[in-house]
């Protein structure tokens, strides 16, 4: 229901207001997805892109394990 460009803009705004040090895995799909991906790509946010639920879960676990070593 939410539009992906609005979600992406929200991530960008949150990133500006917070000091995010944890790895970020982002999976975007839905209405205006191309616009959402463009907003994130043009931002300075470092993130791992995932393609689906399973991929996102796997990459989040990988990122978490990488951080603890």
């Amino acid at each position: 229901m939410a539009r992906v460009d609005v979600i992406a803009q929200g991530i960008v705004e949150a990133h500006e207001q917070m000091d995010i040090r944890l790895p970020l895995v982002i999976r975007l799909a839905g209405t205006n997805v191309d616009e959402g991906k463009r907003i994130l790509a043009e931002s300075e946010i470092k993130f791992v892109e995932a393609t689906d639920f399973y991929d996102a879960a796997r990459k989040a676990v990988e990122a978490a394990e990488g951080g603890s070593k």
Partner: protein
Amino acid sequence: MSILIDEETRLLVQGITGGEGSFHTQRCIEYGTRVVAGVTPGKGGSEMLGVPVFNEAADAGIPLVVCITEGIPVLDMVMVHNYLKNRSTRLIGPNCPGIISPGKCKVGLMVGDIHLQGNVGVVSRSGTLTYEVVAQLTSFGIGQSTCVGIGGDPLPGSTFVDILKLFQEDKDTKAVVLIGEIGGNMEQEAAQFIKEKMTKPVVAFVAGATAPPDKRMGHAGAIISGSSSRAKDKIAALANAGAVIAPSPAEIGLTVKEALGK
């Protein structure tokens, strides 16, 4: 075939001139839906997206009403239920993504292009999980007859059983995916119906396996209160009725693929 809506459907959009109303009406039209009119009180006589706008929708026995709106008070829904009780109008929602019969008609705000015309019916309390399962099905080449979001409110206009009945009768629906969640006992009623009346395979997923009691989980209707509204009780009832249970939301498509023997 499909249920509820098809290429013959004529759609009237209430609230067509609003921001969300016009945004999604445009997408419905692009998908091929025949939008014949819109309603916004005070804006009668104008046009929106090439469609005439009227001041009010008459109580003219419209057979199907799809309500997308979130946040309708339960007490208001009690009155709506009472009003519809002896009428032929069927209500889908509120607080739902709407309905789509892929390749034919879209009445709602789901993304059209993830859908594929086919033989699996989808009925769900969750919008997002509906898109998830549809995207998974389409990626496996498994098309959908109709996808119905019944909404996340405690008092939906149509229940799982109402929609399962339609899928059971629809000759082009060969299997059904049911996506439930914590709260209420609609899944148990569905299980009873599946056990007694359904001859078509049903794949089910129930969200909220780790949800704590007495905490509302996003949807107004998604709250564990009492002993029957937990995910595990619903899963047990559906499994007992013969439904194939998908173990995770990421594997619903795969579970359907296996259940269909593809």
